[in-house]
């Protein structure tokens, strides 16, 4: 039994018939071919699949596509505008906030959410704010620096 859903992803409206059990992350990756959103675990620990749903960072492996019916979603593919990197992306680049890049889309979108709620986070705020996102490459130091740099850029 399939269900009709209608979602807006990165500004484009999509309608589809989906199985009730289809995870949002698989809908994004496989139905819409938006493979920038990654899957790093199966227990909602790693945050690699984080996307923005109606303004909030959400782990898309923990949401059924049918639950997201009617939602406005931003994935990493939708963050840069007119070919120009978003200030958070730019800051991650400048500060070497990524190595293998696998956690990066989720990390950036979590930072996006964090900076909306707390535009001037302290180092401790950032470290706690990205608690739901794991990175094995960077030791987080340059991610933290990147988020603080992004805060400065967004304020400017």
């Amino acid at each position: 039994m399939k269900h009709a859903v209608s979602l807006t992803v990165n500004g484009a409206k999509h309608t589809a018939e989906v199985e009730p059990r289809l995870l949002l992350v698989h809908f994004l990756r496989e139905t819409l071919a938006l493979t920038g959103t990654n899957v790093g675990c199966d227990t909602s620990q790693c945050g690699a699949c984080t996307v923005i749903i109606d303004g909030q960072a959400v782990k898309s492996c923990t949401v059924l596509t049918v639950q997201a019916d009617g939602a406005k979603i931003t994935t990493i593919e939708g963050l840069a505008t007119d070919g120009k990197l978003h200030p958070i992306q730019q800051a991650f680049w400048e500060k070497h906030g990524l190595q293998c890049g696998y956690c990066t889309p989720g990390m950036i979108l979590t930072a996006f959410d964090l900076l909306q709620r707390n535009p001037r986070p302290s180092e401790a705020d950032v470290r706690h704010g990205i608690d739901g996102n794991l990175c094995r490459c960077t030791g987080y130091q340059n991610i933290v620096a990147a988020v603080q740099e992004a805060a400065a850029r967004l304020k400017a």
């Binding site: 199985e19 059990r21 289809l22 698989h26 990756r29 496989e30 071919a33 938006l34 493979t35 920038g36 959103t37 990654n38 899957v39 790093g40 675990c41 199966d42 227990t43 620990q45 790693c46 690699a48 994935t75 990493i76 593919e77 963050l79 840069a80 990197l85 992306q89 991650f92 680049w93 400048e94 070497h96 990524l98 190595q99 293998c100 890049g101 696998y102 956690c103 990066t104 889309p105 950036i108 180092e123 401790a124 950032v126 470290r127 706690h128 990205i130 608690d131 996102n133 794991l134 990175c135 094995r136 490459c137 960077t138 030791g139 987080y140 130091q141 340059n142 991610i143 933290v144």
Partner: protein, 784 residues
Amino acid sequence: MASRIFGSGIKRREDPRLLTGQARYTDDFVLPNMVHMAVVRSPYAHAKIKSIDTKKAASMPGVVGVFTGKQMKEAGFGPIPCAWVVPGSDTKTPPYPPIAIDTVRYVGNAVAIVVAMDRYQARDAVDAVDVDYQALPVTVDAFKATQKGAPQLHSDVPNNVCFHWHVTGGDVESAFKSADVVVKDKIINQRLIPNAMEPRASLAQYGSASGEVTLWTTTQNPHIVRFLLSLDTGIPEHKIRVIAPEVGGGFGSKIPHYPEESMVIFASKALNRPVKWTESRSENYRATIHGRDHIQEVEIAARKDGTIVGLRGKVWANLGAYLSTASTGIPTILHGLMLSGAYKIPNIHEDVYGVFTNTTPVDAYRGAGRPEATFIVERLVDLLARKLKMDPAELRRKNLIPPFKDGYTVATGLAYDTGNYEAALDKALEMADYKGLRKQQSDMRARGQYLGIGLCTYAEICGLGPSQVAGAVGFGGGLWESAIVRFYPSGKVNVFVGVSPHGQGEETTFAQIVASELGVSVDDVEVLHGDTDQTPMGWGTYGSRTTAVGSGALMGAIKKIKDKAKIVTAHLLEASPDDIDYADGKFFVKGSPDKFKTIQDVALMANVAWNYPKGLEPGLEASAFFDPPNFVYPFGAHIAVVQVDAETGEVTLERYIAVDDCGKVINPMIVEGQVHGGIAQGVGQALWEGAVYDEDGQLLTGSMMDYAVPKAAYFPKFELAMTETPTSVNPLGVKGIGETGTIASAAAVYNAVADALASLGVERINMPLTPERVWRAIRDQRRA
């Protein structure tokens, strides 16, 4: 702008695609007619397979095939080869069938595969495969598995001992007999789960007409995977193309050639369509290799004044149920030979027993053998300092190998390249304000607060390595590297390399080298890697070798380009090639720097060859191979400062100071990033991480809910500095930096916690130093 070759922290060229979601990892690839594979895995750690009923699974919606190990074997797919057999160790190599046929030997051992139209259907059908198991007794502990009466894993491996290897240098017996003081310890260097953020995935496309297969796979070394696949799939090497697209971290766990790579090829061949498999994280915890897992009984001998005279030990190294690609080399060559660390230790002996157990295979995990060696030495040095009531920094200083530029041979036989260990120690002590810290420590202790200061002065072996040595120590491949530099008529450059970086940034580092050496913009250089059809043969990215060895090949190709460009320039300027010099992007006539050609001028003329030296081959392309004359030996001094809450057992890492020396630094931003990540993984081992099996061989830390991958809030800001002692092993004088952090930090942090706990009377405690363990240790001590 041409960049400087050293010290230029330019932004990484690989980042824009990674930042925007345009990078393509293996699971991102979709091919026409592609189907999905899922693996049925054993829930038992040790069992006979009585029967496998696939009928129900085969009739499930979307299922296009269900296969067993027997079918795979009948199709000509052989056991997974072990690629490292250490000589002189009587190593047993029992067969490692990609899918178990009659016996399963660890939880997660594959017993069947299911292929379906989508990944959900494949996952559903896994549960419908009915396997009748007869459970067998289980052994999980590397020491217990060798004892009489322990369950036997492989019929031809008595007492589960895969090998007994030893290293001997000097006369250890006499050294211990004549020593003033001997200190012993039993160390559990616990099993770790690598946790690259991208789980493994493999996608195979077999063409029945051509007999060729293309495999996209999450590997650190596509050329090795191709070579090994040619041994176990029966497909000749030249008909196998292995592509490592974007790879989301490896840390050693993506070195091995894995059974699933053979399985997807088999399934693609059987079904005549592309087959993709992607691991779930919980599956990764059981099916992807683990690291470390040593039981170490070790002792150190010294004179009263602190001079170390000997070190010896016995190690039981858990190999898991089967031999993974490089597993026997890790606890032997990469561990035992490094037991001198950064010190003058004239007499060394270690026995290493490699042991099979009913656990996931163990192989290289960041540092691979060196963290296990460093921990022994650094732990014993600290215990010795305590026993002699000497300051651990001063005891280290007393025993450090003095500065050397032309090699220093340690008792295990290795010839270290260059080193200046005391300089790194001094710098770290100064950064930490070591004296001030000690004072702070005693002030705090008076208030009932427990500050701990831990040191680690390490030297490690990497930049693997000379191929002759690789052969002599039983590694089943070479360890040289390759590079092709190709100029196009427009002056733009492609570089093709045999290494396969996956986060280490060599697309940038190598572009920096080409740009600064040949006078082109970094933006005009594109570095390609990770595709066996596109790149020259090379041995891959691990053992901190990518820049150390790969740049040697690149410099060789650059030299050939320069030599040819001089000939072309001489022709164009009507001069003799011997009279052409090169500097700052210009090939010019000696003494007449205004008469010159740029590399772009030369590239155009070489590619069109209109006005060209007679007899000279057209084109501006050079290929070079580099086999280093020695390994490289980075070193450094790390200091950890922790606070232990004696009431809750909680350890807080307050500061972490790292002084590392990796020779000349090309891109400091990238080097620092490598150090950060390395430190985090070693701190993880000291404080939080550990794979735990119960007596039945069930992995209790079987998902990310149960295994403590460190989070951002666990760490302070690491304080980094470098010293610079170039090596003469490669043209640029660079050493590896990918693993140093991990090699040093577990020992530094452990020593810091032990330092804090010593004043509470706690003498022995095993990693990871979780609050519960620390609290129990303090409580037990108070009760005693």
